[in-house]
Symmetry: C2
Subunit: 421 residues, 2 copies
C-alpha cells in the first residue's frame, strides 16, 4: 500500500434492512430482497422516497448456479420499482455484498451519486446438499478444486496448521462454537436460536420420549466431543464448527455525509474501508494467516487513522470456527497465536472487552453467502445505535465497530469500520 487511503467525500449509512436468515422453501430471491428493502425503508428515521435512490449495487455469489439465473442487478431494480437506475452486481464469493457496499461508498464518494442502495441476496436451500457443495466449490481457487479440496477440508487444513504452530486443539475451537451459540438466541433474526446447552436438553428430551437411554454429557464440551452429537466433517472440523446453508437478503442505504442528517439524526459514518485478494493455498507461505485480510485491515486502519485496539466490537467471518480465530489475529485484535487463548478467557464474549459476532455469527445467524457482508453491517448498526435488544453490548460508550467478510478460501477479504458520532 503506497499512501493513506482517503475519500474525497464522506459517506454515511442511514438505513439497513435484512430478512431473518433461514431456509425459505416458499420464497425466492426477489421475495427476500423486497422484504429486506421494506425493512430498510422503515429503518430510515426521517424517511426516504425510493424515487430519490440514484443507483443499486447488489452482491450475489452464484445464483447462476444455485437458481440458474444470472444478471440480477436489473431483476432487483425492476422488482423494487427502481428501474431505470443503474443496477450493478458485484461478486466476491461469500464477500459479494461487502463489495457491493464498497462500490456504493465509492460511487457516492466520487461525487457522482448522493443516495445509493447496496445489498446482497442468496438463495441456496432449494438445492440438495451435494449441489450446494458443488456450487460453493466454484469459489475455491482452481488448484484447490483440482486436488479435491472442499471448503471444510480447506479450513480443516488451516486448523491443523494452526494447531501445530501454536499448540491449540479442538477444545479451543469448541469455545468459539459455544460463544456464538450463546449469542444467537438473543438475535431474533438468527437461523439457529439454541445454545449448546439448549441443544443438549432438547436431545435429552427426545431420548426420553423415545424411551432411549439418556445421553450422559457432563457439559457442553463433552457434547461437542461426542461424534454422534457432533459428527466429523473434515478433521478437525465437526458439524458444529461449520456454518449452515441459508437463504436471505440484506441491504443498506448510503448517502453523502453532507446530506446524512436529512435522513436521520443518528447516521453511522464509513471511517474505514479495506479489501485484499489472496492467492489460494497453493501459493500461501503460511496457512495460519490470510494475506488478503491483512491487506484489508491495513487499508481500513490507514484510512481511519484507527488502531486495532480502537475497534470496540466486530463481526468476523466465521464460516468455520477456525476462521474466526485466525481472522481476529489478522485484524490485529490479538497477536498471532493468541486469539484462541483470548476466546478461552472470555475476551470475545458479549460482556467481554471485545465482543465478536454478537449476532451469532455466520455459524448461528446463518450464511446466505451473497447477503452476509451487508448483514454484518446491520449488526454494527443495531449495536452502535443501541438497538440490539437482549444482545446489546453493555459498554455504554459504544462508538466504533468493524465488519470483516471473507470470500472463498481467502481470495477476497474486506474490513469495514463504522463510527457513531
Amino acid at each position: 500500500m503506497k499512501r493513506r487511503r482517503k475519500l474525497g467525500r464522506g459517506v454515511a449509512v442511514v438505513g439497513v434492512g435484512m430478512t431473518p436468515f433461514n431456509v425459505y422453501k416458499d420464497k425466492d430471491s426477489k421475495d427476500l430482497f423486497v422484504e429486506a428493502f421494506k425493512e430498510m425503508l422503515v429503518s430510515v428515521d426521517k424517511g426516504v422516497d425510493p424515487k430519490d435512490i440514484d443507483a443499486l449495487y447488489l452482491g450475489n455469489f452464484t445464483s447462476d448456479f444455485f437458481v440458474h439465473q444470472g444478471h440480477w442487478g436489473p431483476i432487483i431494480s425492476d422488482i423494487l420499482g427502481l428501474s431505470p437506475i443503474p443496477a450493478t452486481r458485484t461478486e466476491g464469493a461469500c464477500a459479494s455484498s461487502a463489495l457491493a457496499f464498497r462500490e456504493g461508498v465509492f460511487a457516492v464518494a466520487s461525487g457522482f451519486y448522493d443516495i445509493v442502495l447496496v445489498g446482497g441476496v442468496e438463495e441456496m436451500s432449494k438445492r440438495t446438499t451435494e449441489e450446494v457443495a458443488e456450487g460453493l466449490g466454484l469459489a475455491l481457487a482452481p488448484y484447490e478444486m483440482q486436488v479435491g479440496f472442499t471448503f471444510p477440508a480447506v479450513f480443516g487444513a488451516l486448523a491443523t496448521a494452526y494447531f501445530a504452530k501454536y499448540g491449540a486443539s479442538r477444545e479451543h475451537l469448541m469455545n468459539v462454537t459455544i460463544k456464538s451459540h450463546n449469542n444467537a438466541p438473543l438475535n431474533p433474526r438468527a437461523q439457529f436460536k439454541l445454545t449448546i446447552a439448549d441443544l443438549m436438553n432438547q436431545k435429552r428430551e427426545n431420548a426420553k420420549k423415545k424411551g432411549e437411554p439418556l445421553p450422559t454429557w457432563k457439559d457442553e464440551k463433552d457434547f461437542l466431543r461426542d461424534p454422534k452429537a457432533n459428527p466429523p466433517v473434515a478433521w478437525p472440523m465437526n458439524l458444529y464448527d461449520c456454518c449452515p446453508i441459508s437463504d436471505g437478503a440484506s441491504c443498506a442505504l448510503l448517502v453523502a455525509e453532507d446530506i446524512a442528517r436529512d435522513f436521520t439524526d443518528d447516521p453511522l459514518y464509513v471511517v474505514g474501508l479495506g479489501q485484499g485478494s489472496g492467492k489460494g493455498l497453493h501459493a500461501a507461505k503460511d496457512l495460519t494467516c490470510f494475506e488478503a485480510t491483512r491487506n484489508a485491515a491495513q487499508e481500513a486502519y490507514g484510512m481511519s487513522g484507527l488502531k486495532p485496539e480502537d475497534i470496540q466490537f466486530a463481526e468476523v467471518h466465521d464460516c468455520f470456527s477456525i476462521a474466526e480465530i485466525i481472522h481476529m489475529e489478522d485484524l490485529g485484535f490479538f497477536k498471532p497465536g493468541e486469539a484462541y487463548k483470548a476466546v478461552e478467557n472470555g475476551l470475545t464474549r458479549l460482556d467481554g472487552p471485545i465482543p465478536i459476532n454478537t449476532s451469532g455469527g455466520l455459524k448461528c445467524k446463518g450464511h446466505p453467502v451473497g447477503a452476509t457482508g451487508v448483514a454484518q453491517l446491520e449488526e454494527l448498526w443495531e449495536q452502535l445505535r443501541g438497538k440490539a435488544g437482549k444482545r446489546q453490548i453493555p459498554n455504554k460508550n459504544l462508538r466504533i465497530g468493524g465488519a470483516h467478510n471473507l470470500g472463498g478460501t481467502g481470495g477476497t477479504c474486506t474490513f469495514t469500520i463504522l463510527e457513531r458520532r
Copy 2:
C-alpha cells in the same frame, strides 16, 4: 435523474490491451487475460510498474456456468502477480466489463485509489453451441426465459416491432451487416476478417472446386437473402444478423487525471459516464427502444455537457443487427425511426459523418461477452490517438468518441464518452 452527475476528481485512460477475439481451444481465461495485460503494459507510453497498481476490477458474465469456476477477481490478481491488492468482479451480462470500467473510474474519482486496472474476460467456445445458448439464457429476464425466448428470438421480436412501427425491413438490417463486414478486415484483432463480397467469392471458389453449380447472387444483399447462404435463426434474424461465439480478454489502465501525464503525453479523459437498468420485455411499454440505454445516455451527456451531435464516432452494442439501429436512436445519434435510413445512406460508414463500429462491431470483431465493454474502449483509444491503421477514421480532428454496451435484453446499458485533449 435528479442533478447533473459529476466526478470530484477526473480520471484518464493511459493504456489498453486486448487479445484478438477468436475461438481459442488451447487458451483458458487466465492465459487470455495475461495476454491482454501484457499488451496493456506495452501501450503505456512512459511505462507503468505493475507494483503501482492499486486495485483490479474484472468484468465476467458467467464463468460459473461456462467453465465451472467462479470468484475470478483473485484468480486474475494472482496470475498477474498483483495479489494482495483488492480484486472485484462485476457482472452485468454482456456489459460486465463496462461495469468494471465504471467502478474503476469511481474508485479513482473517490480519491481512494490513483491507479486502477480494469478489464474483462470470457471463455465460451469450449462449450457446445447448445450449452452456450443455455449459458447466455442466464442473462435473459426471468419471464423471458419462462416463455421460451432465446436471445435471437428477443431481438427478432424487437425487429418485428420496429419494422411495423417505422416501415423498415430485413433489407435495412442487411445494410448494417454489410457495413460491419466492410470494417472488419481492416481490424487485425477481428474474429471475422472477410467482407460479405469476400464470403461470396470464397463460396463460389468452393463450389467450383467441388464441381457444384456456381451460385448466382447478383450482389451482397442477394447473398444475404439466400436462406442457404444466410439461414434463418429467429425471424427476421438470420445468421449474418447475429454476433459469433468468442473467447477473449481486454483491459485498460485508469489513473487520476492529475497524474495522467506521468504515464503518457496523450491520455484520454473520461468525460461521460452513464448507466441504466431495464425491466425486460414483460414490462416494456415500447419494444422499439431501450429505457436503460436512454438513462445511460442522459447520465453521460449530463456529466459531459455534450450533445449527441458532439459524438464523432461510436462503438454501439450490435449483438444483433437490429440492436445497432435501435441503440443509435436511443443514444440520440438519429431520431426514432431514422437510424435505418441513416445506415442505408452510408452515414455510419467508416468515411461517413458518424462512423459506427469501425472495429467491425460485436458482429465481426467477436463478442466474448465479459470482455466486450472494455474492448470497445480499446477501439476508442486507437481511433482517438490516430493509431487505428487501415480503419482510421479520416476525420483529422477526431476528439470525442462514445462506447455503448448492452447486457441481456436491455437489463443493463452503459454509455461512456472519452475525449482526447
